[in-house]
């Protein structure tokens, strides 16, 4: 932990959770999205309807789910349905406001790779693959991304496009999404361990705020292109004592995500 009193990961999780203040129905992805959404449910978005691709609508987890198929997301939920129905009637029908995804690689337009590093047929590193991410990116009304920054993850060109973002830019993306009848408008925010990124009118991400203690040099050192910096670059408000308590005591007592 830094002298700030919280870790970079804690700041990332807290900043991501706050993004859900205005969301109503959120599709919870595996890993970091899971803890961020569960924190939001306990703070800024108590009425948030949590949807898990495993087939749960209106989850009320009594503990942080160990995975996105944990029994605690079932007990006390509003509805448990087959995955055909979850993906068909909820996601593809357009009922999901926010899809919350992690990523292994992302490009400046928010296109995401979670499939392979290197060549698909002979990969350097085999990653998990799409899971539901491909259809979430297409059918959730908007997409939030949470991931740590590094020059290996914020890349000029992703090795495999698992989940479409703003494609080659906003104009192209909007045309294709409209013509193809996609429910989703694409990514709207990327929350990292260093700051919060949004997307400008060209569809490219720009840094909107730096987390406390993070510097622009750090940002530039962990990104493979020359990043756009917002004209009104701010500082992300630090985690509150209550946010930190929830993460440390309730959601992640073993520090799996937050250290």
């Amino acid at each position: 932990m830094s002298e700030l009193g919280f870790t970079k990961s804690e700041m990332m999780i807290v900043a991501a959770a706050r993004e859900l203040a205005r969301a109503h129905v959120c599709f919870v992805g595996v890993g970091l999205p899971n803890i961020a959404v569960n924190l939001a449910k306990r703070t800024v978005a108590p009425d948030l309807e949590m949807v898990y691709e495993a087939g749960v609508f209106g989850a009320r987890p009594a503990r942080l789910p160990l995975s996105i198929g944990d029994p605690t997301i079932v007990t006390g939920a509003t509805a448990v349905v087959s995955m055909f129905e979850l993906f068909g009637y909820y996601l593809q029908r357009g009922l999901i406001d926010v899809g919350f995804l992690g990523a292994a690689q992302i490009d400046r337009f928010g296109n995401i790779n979670t499939t392979v590093i290197g060549d698909y047929g002979a990969p350097k590193t085999r990653l998990p693959g799409s899971g539901g991410a491909c259809e979430i990116a297409i059918n959730a009304r908007e997409v939030f991304v949470i991931m740590r920054q590094s020059a290996r993850s914020f890349v000029r060109e992703i090795d495999f496009r698992t989940s479409p973002g703003n494609l080659g830019g906003a104009e192209q993306s909007e045309a294709i999404r409209r013509a193809g009848g996609w429910n989703g408008r694409g990514p709207s925010v990327v929350v990292t361990d260093l700051g919060v990124w949004r997307f400008d009118e060209t569809g490219e991400m720009y840094l909107e705020s730096l987390h406390p203690g993070a510097t622009l040099d750090e940002v530039r050192a962990t990104i493979a292109w020359e990043p756009k910096i917002g004209a009104h670059l701010g500082t992300t408000p630090a985690p509150t004592a209550e946010e930190l308590r929830l993460v440390r005591e309730e959601l992640d007592p073993d520090g799996v995500y937050a250290r």
């Binding site: 595996v30 029994p71 998990p128 693959g129 491909c134 059918n139 294709i176």
Partner: protein, 308 residues
């Protein structure tokens, strides 16, 4: 024992054949570990393994040498990390002369749609996915299809009809009428799509228990070939209402799976050297099993009414 009830040994020996396409389904919940171990123990070979989320059980099975090909949509140890034994069969740098594992990859909804097409005997199932991704390039079985009502184009996937689907469940009667609560995943679709079905249950119940709540039935005995009764057969995954996921096991598997020798040692200790699931449960120990027991959360009862 009446009906279709048999031992896991006999069910796997009779129903799973070398070269078969086998789907052990169950999304996080109700993963058929005991069935997977029996397939390893009987040294089945050249299987095509299908599963949305291969999970630790397929990492173990593939390390056990049973598979030539994997059909899947998400490859990981959920909440922990990667599946290292499988990765060693995919990444050229770690192949070490082994034959690479053939893979055929979809998204979750693509896999669900494949089973659904298989279960409904349709030549394809349309879905709104894959647009502007590299997946159709990686897997030429993902194909565009034009609507007959407009110029709109969506994607299609072909049916998946396993030779054998293996489903773990809370309970069934001796004819295989099977009830599940909690996450349903794509088990129903995978069962109806299959040529042969093995049901593995925590509890064998009288037919009257099933018939008291027919809306709870997920798989009818009509499509079931064998019923195996194996309490704790889904360990280290979980069974809603019966036991929790044994997360320590998932965490422990990560370092084991990074080392091929450790994996083989683990398979010897926990699979080859044990006769069956009962021995596995005994070796695991009563204390560990007891620690996974949840508190009660009853569903309540509804009234179907007697109409005479």
């Amino acid at each position: 024992m009446p009906g279709k009830v048999t031992s896991m040994h006999d069910a796997v020996a009779a129903i799973v054949r070398d070269g078969d396409t086998v789907a052990i389904e169950g999304f996080t919940h109700l993963i058929g570990f005991s069935a997977g171990h029996e397939i390893v123990r009987q040294r089945k070979r050249d299987l095509v393994l299908a599963r949305m989320t291969p999970d630790v059980i397929y990492d173990q099975m593939i390390a056990g040498g049973v598979a030539r090909k994997l059909i899947f949509s998400w490859l990981g140890n959920p909440g922990v990390g990667g599946l290292n034994a499988i990765r060693r069969r995919i990444e050229p740098a770690s192949l070490a002369g082994d034959r690479p594992l053939e893979i055929e990859e979809y998204s979750h909804f693509g896999m669900v749609a494949r089973y659904t097409a298989g279960a409904t005997n349709l030549p394809f199932m349309p879905l709104r996915s894959y647009f502007e991704t590299d997946l159709p390039k990686a897997n030429p079985l993902i194909r565009p299809i034009k609507s007959p009502y407009s110029d709109e184009v969506v994607y299609a996937v072909p049916p998946l009809n396993p030779d054998v689907s293996i489903i773990h469940a809370q309970r069934a009667d001796a004819n295989g009428n099977t009830q599940i609560w909690g996450l349903l995943g794509c088990q129903k679709e995978a069962a109806f799509a299959a040529e042969r079905v093995i049901i593995v249950v925590e509890e064998l119940v009288d037919e009257s228990v099933v018939r008291a709540d027919p809306n709870r039935t997920v798989i009818p005995g009509l499509i079931v070939d064998a019923v195996v009764v194996e309490p704790y057969g889904a360990h280290p995954s979980y069974v809603q209402g019966a036991y929790d996921r044994d997360n320590r096991f998932y965490l422990d598997w990560d370092p084991i799976s990074r080392d091929e020798d450790k994996v083989q040692a683990w398979l010897s200790e926990w699979v080859y050297d044990l006769p069956d699931r009962a021995a596995y449960v005994e070796k695991l120990g009563a204390e560990r099993i007891a620690s996974l027991r949840p508190g009660p959360a009853p569903s309540g009862s509804v009234d179907y009414g007697s109409y005479r």
